[in-house]
Symmetry: C2
Subunit: 235 residues, 2 copies
């Protein structure tokens, strides 16, 4: 990133980076807790995720204020400016991951009213583990300044999309088998969709982090993503 005439620009940018890492850890914990709450019908844990979202929002506001103050005070140019703008964008995606985890948590009560078949729980759990691995991975690789790892991580989002399509099909099948499954499965459908969207935000974060670390853009996004519009099982 080169040297700065004003030494403490890097210190202040470091503080912004640490806030990003804090938000990343909180995002990871919210995703882990919300999916655990969903699969164990744990309303208490779900409630905690809802409260955590307020902390996430506060951290994003703090990061925004710090980043904007940093721009105004230090007037960074080109590359440095892009680093600060990149941090603002990463914070935006992390905040949205928190929102999506909260939305999963808020559906725990509604899903809990029906019993989730074991196979389905297994599929959703395995999708959730994939997503959690991506969230943890992007936070670690950003902290370790591992640009190559971030590029690989972006490519791995495809595994989530494949899993989502399969969960989507499974949910439709359960709904068709027994109309009493429809309400719970509809909420699970939104939960699965939220997990898929969390994966997309991880992709955005990986792209921004790569740019902040290297000053280069990753090659254009691979063709996206929600293939369920085509994945229509015969009714």
């Amino acid at each position: 990133m080169g040297e700065h005439t004003v030494a403490s620009f890097d210190e202040e940018l470091g503080q912004v980076s640490r806030l990003i890492s804090d938000m990343g850890e909180l995002a990871s914990s919210m995703v882990a807790s919300s999916t655990k709450a969903l699969l164990k019908s744990d309303n208490g844990l779900a409630q905690r995720v809802v409260s955590d979202d307020a902390i996430m929002d506060a951290r994003q506001r703090e990061l925004d204020t710090r980043a904007i103050t940093l721009i105004a005070k230090r007037q960074p140019m080109a590359q440095d400016l892009r680093a600060v703008v990149g941090a603002i964008r990463m914070a935006g995606d992390l905040e949205r991951i928190g929102d999506l985890a909260k939305n999963i948590a808020k559906r725990v009560g509604a899903v809990g009213q029906g019993a989730t078949p074991r196979d389905l729980s297994h599929s959703i759990d395995s999708m959730a583990q994939l997503v959690l691995g991506q969230v943890d991975g992007v936070v670690e690789k950003y902290a370790a300044r591992d640009a190559e790892g971030l590029a690989q991580l972006r490519a791995d989002d495809e595994r989530i999309d494949v899993k989502y399509t399969s969960v989507f099909r499974e949910l439709l099948t359960y709904m068709m088998e027994d109309p009493r499954n429809i309400t719970a499965c509809t909420h699970l459908l939104f939960c699965a969709k939220n997990l898929e969207r969390i994966g997309d935000h991880v992709t955005n974060i990986a792209e921004n982090a790569f740019f902040v670390l290297t000053g280069e853009q990753l090659p254009p996004n691979r063709p996206k993503l929600d293939e369920t519009a085509a994945a229509v099982p015969a009714a």
Copy 2:
């Protein structure tokens, strides 16, 4: 916004504003076309929305580049800086409205395979009209610098949420009545959810536009929003 020592800052900010208005008009047209395509099973129109999204993305990139160049070149302080950052945020929300319209368009084929009951079409159409009114409204009120109107518009998002909850219930009912409706209704459920999310992005835009125009934050967000987790009809 006060006078500037460098006269052309306002000109450059004006260009950024015009890009926001362009993106707003495109967003409005994409929302109108995607819901029309959905309700008329018009695959050609749906395809056009998918192409429009590439234009939207290009405009957002142009706005981002201009805004960041503007900050780097003019080094605006405080209020002016916030105006530019506000524009970057508004562009982000408009781009996401485009994404959501595209997602609706991409579901047109999957929904078209089942016949949508007339009552349901009517409900979705009326939700779409509410959302479209909000999108058009926020673009107009931002262009007219109508801060009071923006505050009112944010409050009006509640009507969309109420409508969404009712469409959600209706869709569950249709699915329960006949399993052959499940596939199409599932896609319609995501379309309705996308419309509700478009409303949320309009709310964000109204808040940012209000801040850019007045330098004041609107009072904290009203309690949010997706009430469907509680709206579970007896199965």
